[in-house]
Amino acid sequence: MTPTPSDRNDDLVTRAVDGDSDAFEELYRQTVARVYGLCLRMCGNTSQAEELTQEAFVRAWQKLASFRGDSAFSTWMHRLAVNVVLGHQRSSGRRQTRESTAGEEWYGDGSTRAVPPVAAVDLERAVAALPTGARTVFVLHDVEGYKHTEIAELTGVAVGTSKAQLSRARHLLRKALRS
């Protein structure tokens, strides 16, 4: 019987847990675009997104033994990357009050999907320029599809706060896209 992608990944994870960095590299190649896309949108800055992506994979390597296979590796990796970005935001939030300089740095080309009413380029730029808290909740909820209860759990805020941040983000985005 031909191995399924899931079987293949199980094998890669097993080998990676045993210290096989080639297997881990293959897992990295399979998931890096998804992880980087998440990091990029959550932090709105390419160089920081690269650093956070690398950190996420290094942390994954360290924590591989705790991966039980209850979910797909990509799902586990995605959640781990969210935690890495949030951890970074918490620590950098203590050091700086400046929310974001991101709008001018990256806004993607959005070339893979056509979004006629709101241009993807404009949206990416506007999202990147949002304040950190609002951007985080907007990306997790409206782009990544997390529920408010999940976001509250991940970020350590109340569900009401998550909703308020989403409302703020959408308000700012409507304002930005209208102008």
Partner: protein, 224 residues
């Protein structure tokens, strides 16, 4: 049922967009929207925004290959992590043994690979792809950066020479020489196999080990 005013509608706009508004409020909102153009515009834009966000591509390829940095990090941690943890508190002989072990490891891994490479040379015909070229270029950047760091640390260690005992100094230098030898062998092999990703990875790893050794050597308490 009461009809919403603009403030009430805007306060419920997100729930309306997400479809989580209760039926009574939906009716009140719809009644308001019939007569209020500005709120209709807000709702339309909100819906468009939600659709556009859902349509954004989830995957974005980074502009450069991030693996070399990850590989250097995890390779470094796999061998050295933990072994050196107590080095600063207990320098001298224990530390020196560990330093020697690292140097020997670097050398032996390198030599093993080099021997394998030489033996397998007739069958290794790896045509460089765009991706491998890119990977090699990225390793080249990493190795160059690591070499610079290594040189800076070496200069810093040199300034501490008088503070370290001759025995410690001698062992550190011997180990650095071993690693230097390994680096030289890898670079020589790279001259004939510039596209070999494994060699580039080995080089980055060797520099990483050297930096670990130098970092710990420069942090040793003064002995002399």
């Amino acid at each position: 049922m009461t009809r919403f005013d603009c403030d009430q509608l805007l306060s419920k706009l997100d729930e309306l967009i997400d479809g989580t508004l209760d039926d009574a409020d939906v009716g009140a909102a719809e009644d308001h929207l019939v007569t209020c153009k500005s709120c209709r515009v807000e709702l339309d834009l909100g819906n468009e925004l939600r659709e556009a966000a859902r349509a954004l591509p989830r995957s974005v390829q980074p502009e450069r290959d991030l693996w070399p940095g990850i590989a250097a990090e995890i390779e470094g941690r796999r061998v050295v992590h933990g072994s050196f943890r107590h080095a600063a508190a207990a320098p001298s002989r224990t530390w020196l043994k560990i330093a020697a072990a690292v140097a020997v490891l670097v050398a032996s891994v390198t030599i093993a690979y080099m021997v394998g490479l030489e033996q397998a040379q007739p069958t290794i015909v790896e045509s460089p792809t765009a991706e491998s070229d890119y990977t090699v270029a990225a390793y080249g950047d990493v190795s160059s950066d690591l070499e610079n760091v290594s040189n800076l640390l070496r200069a810093g260690l040199e300034r501490r020479r008088e503070e370290l005992s001759p025995e410690t100094w001698s062992v550190v230098m011997e180990n650095l020489t071993v690693i230097d030898g390994a680096i030289a062998r890898i670079e020589a092999a790279m001259a004939t196999n510039p596209g070999d990703v494994r060699l580039n990875r080995q080089l980055a790893t060797a520099y990483r080990r050297q930096i670990d050794l130098l970092q710990r050597a420069t942090k040793l308490p003064a002995e002399a």
